[in-house]
Amino acid sequence: MPLVALFIPCYIDQLYPQVGLATCELLKRLDVTFEFPVEQTCCGQPMANTGCTEDARPLAEKFLRIFKDFEYVVAPSGSCVAMVRQHYDEYFHGRPEYADFQKLKAKTFELCEFLTDVLHVEKLQGQFPYRVGLHQSCHGLRELRLASDTELVGKSYNKVRSLLEMIEGVQIVQLQRPDECCGFGGTFAVNEEAVSCMMGEDRIYDHEQAGTQVLTANDMSCLMHLEGLIRRQKKPMRVMHIAEILAGGDV
């Protein structure tokens, strides 16, 4: 079994530790050898997405230093993995570390992607007898191509959904707009608070109409935004990261 370094995004580390623990539990069940390099902090996405790319640079360098010697790097977040895979190039281009970075890039995976593409998981133990609403987080969807989106013409597939379907009792609800953005968007959630919240409310409404009991996604950041609205409006809907469901968690 491969040696995996856990890359736990900073906000999961600080605010949603149960998602990190569920990731460990899931990997343990699949006999994956993993460890958590404690030096890690953040991939630098908030700075890079604000345009302050030079403030993100030291974090990219730190990331490479910490993770370069592992066989795989796995994170329960499409967005942070997309940051590494799609946006780190500029920090290493034309530098001696570039070759190391190319290797690191090729072995950094989002959790669901790692399960389907590297481990080729075909079955998972566990029961989850609920109507589940799957939120397709944009970065996983359109940067990492974890699923086909409604804009492009081609083969239809969904790595995240196919994993969820392995869990007994999961009923995935049918949404009106299966892959619309939730409105989180990092610092967008604060800069454009009005639009961000309206987008979130619309996503929640779609799930309510579809009968979602548990709202899940492979990005906790989208869920943090949606949960913030759900809790403020006291809606009867649970929010869980997909790792929690796949690791055999219950509501």
Binding site: Q14, L15, C24, T33, T50, D202
Partner: protein, 479 residues
């Protein structure tokens, strides 16, 4: 004013924002249906993108070829470096012909150059003949969308506007009736006009001809009666060969409105018998985009508006919140190129969902370009100091693991123990409509240590390969 402020105003009227979102989503859904009926859709996009990229990288040659061919067909070609020059050229042509009344089919370029008010100031009556354009013209507002200029207006409002200006029945809202009122009104304008002005959707270098796409046939009507036809185009409207048209005409209508093809694709090759055709080719900042390696790709745009229809931010904030002739995702690339200080907020009016990039028929990597714009704006000092400062601070904290851990512990403690009024204050934009996440007592790294023992610590780098489990690295535990 920045986009967020104008968007917040739009969103405040929630039912209206919902209505706007639904109207545009309807078009986006229609587009999806139309493109999924073509198995070759992605090949078409790929081809179109390659043709456009080739064209803009040989733009000077193709422009000269077009001028030669168009001139050989009897047209007169004019060159304008900016909006002012464009307007002056159009006015001069109109004056030479003693034109008092001009009918104009939809042209975003002339909107961009503010041609209407300019001509009106010089005593020329301008009538927009595209229905949506006519509506916003009567309303004295700019278009809010490049394909559906009046998409922000409800039929009740249009009824009222027509009642005021076109003497339609009071309280009428029936679209068919209102369209008929507009049609009758426009017929008069067509009959009276001394000249017709159109935009250009595609200009063909090889032939010197050009194509204008409309759904109402108003371009044809506008240039069929008067002897004078003026066509205004941006330098990026070129395609090399007539046979390339098939690719673009199929892409344009499906992307724009979900139609297989636009109702009228009118081809113009030289002036009509006994008439004159003037083609005004305008730069207005485009060659600057061409020169910038980063944003060059945005010149591939064929102005279908698909990125607007799909953009979750545009749908909920309305076209006027962008304060630019071309709003939405593509407009947010084009506008700061002209005036970064004024339009600095537009690249931030984006959640980076990437839907615009996947929907774009010429494969412009729109959301990546918006991200690049953010970097450019930061580098050139257009970012508010609060943003710059907070990001600098975050970077300092995050690059030092112990400091990050300390700040995290303090933050979580504060979230748990501070009174609610202190956390949910006026400065907390997150907390106005949303709860903050529940702050756990311990972070993941603390819990990991409890559950899984010691962790890899700073300075110890593991050996690559899974076979090293259980080796002598005492500070590492693997699971």
């Amino acid at each position: 004013m920045n986009h967020a402020t104008l968007a917040a105003e739009f969103v405040r009227n929630r039912p209206r924002a919902h209505w706007h979102d639904t109207a545009l989503w309807f078009v986006r859904a229609k587009r999806d249906k139309a493109v999924h009926s073509l198995p070759e859709w992605e090949t078409l996009r790929e081809t179109a993108s390659a043709i456009k990229l080739h064209t803009i990288s040989h733009l000077a040659e193709y422009l000269e070829q077009f001028e030669r061919q168009a001139t050989a067909l009897g047209a007169t070609v004019h060159w304008a470096c900016d909006a002012a020059e464009h307007n002056q050229i159009v006015l001069d042509i109109l004056r030479q012909h003693g034109v008092k009344k001009l009918v104009k089919s939809k042209s975003m370029l002339t909107e961009e150059c503010h041609l209407n008010p300019y001509l009106e100031r010089h005593g020329i009556e301008v009538t927009d003949t595209d229905l949506g354009e006519r509506i916003v013209q009567l309303d004295r507002k700019p278009p809010s969308h490049i394909v559906m200029p009046a998409i922000h207006m409800k039929k009740e409002e249009i009824g009222e506007l027509f009642h005021k200006h076109l003497q339609s029945a009071a309280g009428a809202t029936d679209p068919q009736y209102l369209a008929e009122v507009a049609r009758q009104h426009l017929r008069h304008k067509f009959m009276e006009a001394d000249a017709g002005l159109t935009g250009v959707n595609f200009a063909v270098a090889e032939t010197g001809g050009f194509v204008v796409c409309t759904n109402e046939g108003n371009a044809d009507l506008g240039v069929s009666l008067p002897k004078l036809h003026i066509a205004c185009m941006g330098i990026e409207k070129l395609i090399p060969r007539a046979k390339d048209l098939g690719v673009f005409l199929r892409l344009l209508a499906r992307s724009a409105t979900g139609q297989p093809i636009t109702a009228y694709s009118s081809h113009f090759h030289g002036p009509r018998l006994g008439g004159e055709l003037h083609i005004v080719i305008v730069d207005n900042g485009r060659s600057q985009l061409l020169a910038s390696g980063e944003f060059r790709g945005s010149l591939k745009c064929i102005r279908c508006g698909a990125c607007m229809n799909t953009c979750p931010v545009y749908r909920r904030s309305g076209g006027h919140s962008y304060e630019n002739t071309v709003p939405g995702p593509i407009g947010s690339i084009l506008a700061p190129a002209r005036d970064p200080q004024h339009y600095y907020s537009l690249p931030y009016a984006c959640s980076l969902c990437g839907s615009c990039t996947d929907v774009c028929p010429v494969k412009i990597d729109i959301h990546h370009q918006l991200l690049t714009w953010r970097r450019e704006l930061a580098v050139h000092g257009h970012l508010p100091w609060t943003k710059r400062f907070s990001m600098k601070l975050a970077s300092i904290v995050l690059r030092t693991t112990w400091l990050y851990g300390l700040m995290g512990n303090m933050g979580r403690w504060a979230l748990r123990n501070f009174p609610r009024w202190l956390v949910y204050n006026r400065l907390n934009a997150w907390g106005r409509q949303r709860e903050l996440p529940p702050a756990p007592r311990r972070s993941f790294r603390q819990l990991y240590q409890e559950h899984y023992g010691r962790t890899t610590t700073a300075g110890t780098s593991p050996q690559p390969g899974g076979n090293s489990v259980g080796d002598s690295q005492s500070s590492t535990s693997r699971h």
